[in-house]
Symmetry: C2
Subunit: 418 residues, 2 copies
């Protein structure tokens, strides 16, 4: 694999003493020069920092940032201790980056690869959060116990069942580990994933990644509801973090199941391609029927304003339901016991040359306490009935167990490996 | 092609009177309902508007915005008048969007496809600029005059010659037309390209597109120099728009060549994939040697601060040059008569499954008065000698003639079709 280690040409030069022009190497003098000329430090800005350490991981009930870089990784080590080592390194690095500091404390020795790739030097933390998750294949693969962890796989960390409308691609699905980096500066999010991928070298390789260029949900009452690429306000009735009771009920794992996941959450990711060319030819009235809301205002059919309560029983004078029986809003809302915390992003990856259409849509992310009771029944119903299905295809899918948070000196997932 | 017109199921419903539930259709009463219930208007914000109309196109000597969506199009019409028609529609629509207004003046009739796709409703113009260009294949294709315009092809609009290090992909190169949308909000830039692509239906289809998530150059003295994905400050010595004399000399076509291009400029786009995994293993000293600048400060080797003048003749005490003979900065700067206006962006499109590496790098855009005297000799030299070549591959390439600007009622490229 391209990301595994190879012998570096310059390592050879150094070890044999054959230094190229301009590279200061050799005995004590060279080292001193390296220290005086080669060491530089960076200052950083305290603004816009979201604490990484805490009893829960950040990036879940954090007010949703505007930009996402998400990556799934495959482990290439045979050794369980390596996984704990990687998570230790990742935890410490994530805490550093979330604090707005460069990796390696801003020290850049001249005769080594820089500890930090540098593209975010001088930028603020920009509300960076880094959230780690563990996939089903970390525990069992091809029906076999992989690292002696099979008995510690949570029951809620199911393999997502096939669902109507799926057209999943292997190369956009699954993964042993995931990292969700969110920030209000896309370069800061990119930098986080890149540097974690780099630190995984020899232990894990990136399986897939996704840039999200604009949030399509609000997780805080203080945020305006953004629009998805279909032009509709998305996530008006999303769970909001200002209500800890709802978070406890629907997002955080309680004292059920295995103790290492208590205080964690399950992340479901779906790459939902939107067929924008077809959608854009559809009449406004039909677009609104599909969603069950007004396009411009975001109001439900029975109201005038976005946040007016949805009345699924509202009827036209002729007795037909205002909100169609297969409208997205009805299917998503009619079972009021099912709620998820959505944290999705719009994406585009250029043209799909196989279809001549833009490869764009929604990278759906949701956190739930138990996907068996939340995401799976919800999406099973939506996949079968939702009017929106004419215009979307799910082509990527993954599920991860996000352990609880940790304190300085600990690491994410520590209780699993204890 | 997927973007060409097809018969819309709902058109059929309407023309036959078989309306689905919830769709108000039919005689005068239905129309009246559509008018009262279905028409909604939007307000917009005057902030952050860059005028679209003017003697030159915007998006060239405009302070560089943070986000890019770029698209190249292939014409599918046989008719020259259709091209003028398309450019007229595009010009008017671009002016509307640049002013922060929705297409169709914010009126959304219920029984038609919305005139505006809607995802940017409620957002500010966010310094949106839309810049149009005409590719060589608009004039001649496969050696033949295509629309009777061959004699009007500017000599400076050459086919870019093959250059050392090219690994160009057809599906990321060329195009009869291009649109560069830049904004400080990525959704606003996405919206612009999408709606123009939509208006081109039946006349042109998108050939390729590129999202740029962060600028990698400054075009104004008021902007901080950003870093590219290699972690270096990029474009420190880029031309700055505050010097109109330099713009005249290096960016704008003067009274040379065909008159329809006077006041225009030539855009060169190159998709430069960076091999970040290799780069990240390279020692700091070598990375700096490649660029010829310090990584953290951006200072040239002969100075301490980013904007210290580069001294290509500076030598170490032992007589060797401080800036290596094949350093990027030396090759780019040694011929002081060659200058271009760079307006590039960092990109990532996820994993490249053929290599297991991130598909990321620099989407290079440059404007020049005559690519035969500027971009081509510069890149020919860089392609042959630049130390950076070990870490980059050019996999997309295109050139476009960007006509001068226009006034309200006119259209971009009008003089070509006169």
């Amino acid at each position: 694999m391209a990301m595994s280690q190879k012998i570096n040409r310059r390592n050879i030069l150094i070890s044999t003493g054959l230094a190229g022009a301009g590279v200061v190497l050799g005995g004590g003098g060279g080292y001193a020069i390296a220290q005086t000329q080669g060491q530089r430090t960076m200052q950083h800005n305290e603004a816009n920092i979201i604490p990484f350490y805490g009893s829960q991981q950040s990036g879940i009930v954090t007010p949703q940032q505007n930009h996402l870089h998400f990556a799934a990784f495959d482990l290439i080590t045979e050794n369980r201790d390596d996984i704990a080592t990687l998570l230790k390194i990742w935890t410490a690095t994530a805490a550093t980056m979330a604090s707005g500091k460069p990796i390696g404390e801003g020290t850049f020795p001249e005769h080594a690869a820089p500890p930090d790739t540098g593209e975010a030097l001088g930028l603020q933390a920009s509300n960076l959060t880094i959230t780690f998750g563990l996939g089903p294949t970390l525990f069992t693969k091809d029906g076999k116990d992989r690292y002696g962890l099979a008995s510690r796989r949570p029951e809620a960390l199911v393999d997502l069942p096939p669902m109507a409308g799926d057209a999943l691609k292997e190369e956009r699905s699954g993964g042993d580990l995931c990292v969700q980096a969110c920030s209000d500066n896309p370069l800061v999010a990119f930098h986080a994933i890149r540097n974690l991928a780099r630190q995984a070298r020899g232990l894990a390789v990136m399986r897939w990644s996704q840039l999200g260029f604009n949030r399509t949900a609000s997780t805080s009452k203080k945020q305006e509801t953004p629009r998805n690429l279909m032009g509709f306000k998305d996530g008006t009735n999303n769970l909001k973090i200002e209500d800890p009771e709802l978070m406890k009920q629907h997002v955080w794992v309680g004292d059920e199941g295995l103790s290492w996941m208590h205080g964690g959450s399950y992340l479901v990711a779906r790459r939902i391609r939107m067929h924008l060319e077809s959608w854009d030819r559809d009449f406004l009235a039909d677009q609104e029927k599909v969603f069950g809301r007004r396009k411009v205002s975001g109001a439900p059919f029975n109201g005038k304003e976005e946040f007016d309560a949805v009345d699924l029983n509202a009827k036209h004078p002729d007795g037909t339901p205002m909100i169609a029986t297969q409208a997205h809003i009805r299917l998503a809302a009619e079972d009021t016991s099912i709620k998820i915390l959505r944290r999705g992003y719009s994406f585009t990856d250029g043209m799909d040359i196989t279809t001549g259409e833009q490869d764009a849509g929604l990278f759906f992310i949701a956190f739930n306490r138990d996907p068996r009771k939340q995401f799976i029944p919800l999406q099973t119903k939506l996949g079968q009935q939702d009017l929106l299905n004419e215009y979307i295809t799910h082509n990527g899918s993954a599920i991860f167990a996000c352990p609880p948070g940790t304190h300085e000196g600990g690491f994410i997932g520590e209780a699993l490996f204890a």
